[in-house]
Point group: C4
Chain length 194, copies 4
Amino acid sequence: MEKNRLEAFSDGVIAIIITIMVLEMKVTEGINWETLKPLIPKFLSYILSFLFVAIYWVNHHHLLFTIKKVNAAIMWANMNLLFWLSLVPFATAWMGENHFDKITVACYAALALCCGFSYNILQAAICKTYDEATAKRLMTKQSSWKSITSIVLYSIAIPIALFIHPFISGFLFLTVSIMWMIPDKNIERAFEEE
Amino acid sequence: MEKNRLEAFSDGVIAIIITIMVLEMKVTEGINWETLKPLIPKFLSYILSFLFVAIYWVNHHHLLFTIKKVNAAIMWANMNLLFWLSLVPFATAWMGENHFDKITVACYAALALCCGFSYNILQAAICKTYDEATAKRLMTKQSSWKSITSIVLYSIAIPIALFIHPFISGFLFLTVSIMWMIPDKNIERAFEEE
Amino acid sequence: MEKNRLEAFSDGVIAIIITIMVLEMKVTEGINWETLKPLIPKFLSYILSFLFVAIYWVNHHHLLFTIKKVNAAIMWANMNLLFWLSLVPFATAWMGENHFDKITVACYAALALCCGFSYNILQAAICKTYDEATAKRLMTKQSSWKSITSIVLYSIAIPIALFIHPFISGFLFLTVSIMWMIPDKNIERAFEEE
Amino acid sequence: MEKNRLEAFSDGVIAIIITIMVLEMKVTEGINWETLKPLIPKFLSYILSFLFVAIYWVNHHHLLFTIKKVNAAIMWANMNLLFWLSLVPFATAWMGENHFDKITVACYAALALCCGFSYNILQAAICKTYDEATAKRLMTKQSSWKSITSIVLYSIAIPIALFIHPFISGFLFLTVSIMWMIPDKNIERAFEEE
């Protein structure tokens, strides 16, 4: 039951994060091209972040599904993840407002890295409550391969945004997102076996 | 239990969508006719969208009630629906701010169409997890008749808004909403039989 | 289980309503008396509305506790109540922004009346699903006495705000709120007997 | 089951409080030092408040875990706590906007005190529903030691902010937060014994 409330709180926070981002797309009076043009980068960065937060929710959902007991370490690791995710609406709006400027894109990549590390910390805190065999079964090879690829791609997205072109970084963000959307058969199978 | 969390997250997102729309009705100092007049189209578009999102919540509620197992396809089809619904506050505010201008009304109709298609995709993803007989029983004739009518009415609302008059489109939106509010006896009966 | 989701959605909407009201107290740079003075009526109207919405949540909680089955009538009566409650942040901000101007106070009273009637409609929709004896037991005399007093006080608050003084109306609002905060022993006893 | 809904509503309100604070960090166009500089105090005050609200959620979670029955006193004591917590986003934004001005920091400390007292009132209301032995076991010595220290530190933070330096007060806030993050073994042990 304790677990239910951790889920409910996390769901609430993530639901609010994903929804308030739309508030940053400020409505303008007048519908000519001049008033609509600044909305395009904001809309693109909204789509990117919706996808980003949605993927975190889905993975978070899978991860917490495996918990039986919530301890202080899990609770605070979860809070840490929510803190970094709560900065996504700000980073999204900042990037959209400044038309994917290289510094804003690099900051977005850095925030994505922080979220990724926080997720891994939460995963480690959860695995500690299991015996070694279960922990290994849940941390499938494919999953850790995805985690490492994400961290590498986000890391190289920072210098690419600063020194080459921010759009290549945006393309890397999208690549990571699509990679995560492909279902991880191993995890689903592991759940079913249980 | 997995299903509970999908419901909780969807409820959270839809609850936020339906409530933050009211934030777009900006409060003004002064209470003469000049300051109140621009609030009228905003208030009308708020009512329209409240009804629109409320109907989606009720139908979503009925639809998820029938699920027993959540798979990746259902999860992402649900996310896709939530994405389009999350754009409703923006479309509502834009339409209200520009006094039901024909282009904004056409965009609203286009968004309503996207929501409708996303709902059908979710329904299809859920039906796939059932045997054929149950799927058929849940997708009653009346329901699909409603879906088709909605899509036809929203589709013709786009050219009507652009070339005839946006208020006729607004009237079509209201017609669709009232049509959905009339309870679908077949669905309720199907649930009770179960 | 259907009931759980109705509760969860209502809880979500009411939680958002009660919390976004604080966003209307806009932060100002500078901390002298000039910048703080306009915050006082906003803060007072925030307290009034927090109490108002909190009482609705508590009563809604008691009311839905008695339901066994959710039908279409209950669902839409609940949506209707949530619609009127969702306008409370706007009415609160408007009243605060205009320093309890008589027209804004009269509108607030009118909105409170709409919420009151919507609550009674929901109560009636729920009572219809019961046999007469249970319905009577739950609709205790004291409760209906409170409902009638509320409606009478809100009704006379409208002309009082317009023609005498808005602060007397504010005092009436507070009286109604305090009246509802005193626990209704009959209801609690009725629950315990069950 | 009644308890579940109190938890769900509290979770919703706290989740919204913790997330809307990020909306106060207004995005600016332009990414030079001039536009970024005012964000620094806002970001620091955001971190401070995120930690503050997160700790309340964790403790609230532990406290409500022990309840078996919700009565009117618990419900209203909980509402009172949520009211004071709902003012945190305002106090945070005000402090950040005015660069940790001494008056804003003193107000923040006063609000923290109000939250602390409200929490103790809720705790007392819950303990009343228990027999003396259980109440004592749950109100462990360490916990009450923490409560008293918090109240003392917040109380002295007010004159320190006004007459010495607001940054010392900020340091005291951080001290209280870190003190609460260290898990309270007694509580966890008490739960496990049960």
